[in-house]
């Protein structure tokens, strides 16, 4: 059977099946090639590294901002923007927190936490470590992914091009479907061949969520148990929004962040900086305690 002699609809049906099978085969092939033993992280105590694993650089930056807001190292100003306070400046030791804190030395929107500058900082802090651990693709794995993508795309798009030429040579002009598939095929294949995490990284993310799964379902009743850093770890595994159900203070913070202008980064699975307008300004460095897990406020109040 010469597939290029198939009538248009039959050819498109055939091609759809071919594309689906190719995509599935690629997906399984790459996942199995990137599989391996359980990932051992260099430092499982870092909630921002975990957030980077589960949601990318933007998730890590947003979590850091949420924690800094909770600890009142950053406050929401009267202009509904975020600005660093002097509260606990010396107690901020985490490098990503420091970066975010310094970024907000000037008043900015909450959504700016995921500026390219902060994203680059998060990438610099965590990408290499997670790559070495096997959770993110190593250069040779990326190279293989690219090769698999290009070879498959060339073959599949080549089939479409040949069919289009055959169709046009026979006087047919209804090649819109071929054109759409020609555009869609590379996108689909790229999506399948370039997941952000390796299969080991995906396993690690799934396992962390499983190990913590009891807490997710009981988050509302466990409010009083977790101090700041533990809450941050839960936010890292399940997304910063979970923090809202853990502590009322996080809920108020997220409520305000969600009213700020839309995020500018797409490198995240969570997105809560969406709409304009923060709520009213909050806080002085006061009774709820600055530097949760890291130390006291030290003379901020007035």
């Amino acid at each position: 059977m010469n597939i290029f002699n198939l009538p248009g609809p039959e050819f498109l049906a055939f091609y759809t099946v071919l594309l689906a099978v190719s995509a599935a085969a690629l997906w399984f092939f790459i996942r199995s090639r990137e599989s391996g033993p359980a990932v051992k992280l260099n430092n499982i105590s870092d909630p921002y590294k975990i957030a980077y694993l589960t949601g990318g650089a933007a998730a890590a930056c947003r979590l850091a901002l949420a924690v800094l807001l909770h600890r009142e190292n950053i406050k929401i100003s009267e202009k509904s923007k975020c600005v660093a306070t002097d509260c606990g400046r010396l107690t901020i030791t985490d490098p990503l927190e420091k970066k975010i804190y310094e970024y907000y030395s000037n008043e900015r929107d909450a959504s700016a936490a995921v500026s390219s500058e902060n994203i680059r900082a998060a990438d610099h802090l965590y990408e290499l470590d997670l790559t070495r651990a096997g959770a993110l693709p190593a250069p040779e794995q990326r190279s293989f992914r690219n090769t698999a993508f290009f070879v498959t795309a060339i073959v599949l798009v080549g089939i479409l091009v040949i069919k289009a030429i055959v169709a046009l040579s026979r006087g047919r002009t209804n090649v819109g479907g071929l054109f759409m598939f020609t555009i869609a095929t590379p996108f689909l294949l790229w999506f399948v061949t370039h997941p952000r995490l390796t299969s080991r990284g995906t396993q690690l993310r799934k396992h962390l969520q499983q190990l913590f799964s009891d807490l997710r379902t009981r988050a509302k009743t466990n409010r009083s148990v977790f101090e700041g850093r533990e809450s941050a770890m839960l936010g890292a595994v399940f997304g910063a929004q979970l923090l809202s159900s853990l502590q009322p203070k996080f809920a108020r913070i997220f409520d305000r962040i969600n009213k700020t202008p839309a995020a500018t980064s797409s490198n995240s699975s969570s997105s809560y900086c969406s709409t304009p307008g923060c709520g009213s300004s909050s806080s002085s460095c006061g009774s709820s305690g600055c530097g949760g897990g890291g130390g006291g406020c030290g003379g901020c109040g007035s």
């Binding site: 051992k40 396992h207 962390l208 190990l211 009891d214 533990e230």
Partner: protein
């Protein structure tokens, strides 16, 4: 067999305190996982335990085998723990010197068997069955009992020593269980400690309990794992440190009513200090590569 050259301090893995365990990982040398918590999971879900073990050293603790029994343990129970053991390769695994069922009747808790030579024979048979399947001997833990097992012919220390000698196994010494048993029968816990085969201790549990009414004006100490470790247990640990020079794995057991995690860390740190004081008193140094579990 693995070799260890220093004391290690950890805590029981409970999902409720998972974030704290991760955040304060640098203060924790290992976590103890309850085997039965994972039996009902499918293989794919059990692999989460392998991920945990890859990132924090894990010991495996069984709570339902009932090895110290005249009844032969069912092979499926051995297979359950063998599969888990193979998948995570823990530092070691442990069970209890107890029985948990009689025929088809599940008691539902750890029960102290009569301390008789006959029961030692049953225990040896079960250990041999476990050995054939797993290839790795468990540490055996002394259990708490509110009553002295009827029909007993030996003291707790004597029976424990004979059982472990006969089976050539080592001891996970639960100091709160030892303390509760001593208190409940009106004995001195430090004397009870010295009656135990301390040369066979490889791991230690620290836990807490509460007083319960036992009829009349009598009260007994119940080891419920829901309270902080009492001061006496740290004193016993210090004494053990002086008596037993081999490296030990010491873990805090807490099953519920969890305090802030920093408080649990405080218990781990206090255990560390207590054992160190005991070592200092004895002038004992951990012999490198001297401990095999």
């Amino acid at each position: 067999m693995q070799q260890f050259s220093k004391d290690n301090f950890g805590i029981g893995w409970r999902p409720e305190i998972a974030p704290g365990i991760f955040i304060y990982r640098e203060h924790i040398d290992f976590v103890e996982v309850i085997a039965e918590d994972w039996y009902h999971y499918k293989t794919a879900s059990k692999s989460a335990l392998a991920t945990l073990a890859a990132n924090i050293p894990v010991t495996l603790h069984g709570v339902s085998m009932g090895l110290a029994s005249g009844e032969r343990i069912q092979q499926k129970r051995i297979d359950n723990i063998a599969r888990l053991y193979d998948s995570i390769r823990p530092l070691f695994w442990s069970e209890h010197l107890c029985f948990t069922r009689a025929g088809e009747f599940e008691i539902g808790h750890l029960a102290a068997p009569p301390r008789t030579q006959q029961n030692i024979g049953g225990f040896i048979d079960n250990i041999e069955a476990v050995r054939r399947t797993l290839g790795a001997d468990p540490l055996l833990e002394n259990i708490a009992t509110l009553i002295e097992p009827p029909g007993s012919e030996m003291t707790e220390g004597d029976w424990t020593a004979r059982s472990l000698d006969a089976a050539n196994c080592n001891l996970l010494l639960d100091l709160h269980n030892l303390y509760a048993n001593a208190l409940n029968r009106g004995a001195d816990p430090f004397c009870s400690l010295r009656e135990m085969p301390v040369e066979r201790v490889r791991a230690v549990h620290l836990a807490g309990g509460r007083w319960i009414g036992a009829g009349g004006n009598q009260q007994k100490l119940l080891d419920d794992h829901l309270h902080s470790v009492p001061d006496i247990c740290y004193e016993l640990l210090e004494e053990l440190g002086a008596l037993a020079p081999q490296p030990l794995f010491v873990s805090i057991e807490r099953d519920g009513r969890f305090p802030p995690f920093l408080q649990l860390l405080g218990e781990i740190d206090r255990a560390r200090q207590s054992l160190a004081h005991g070592r200092d008193r004895a002038g004992a140094a951990c012999t490198p590569s001297s401990l095999k579990i």
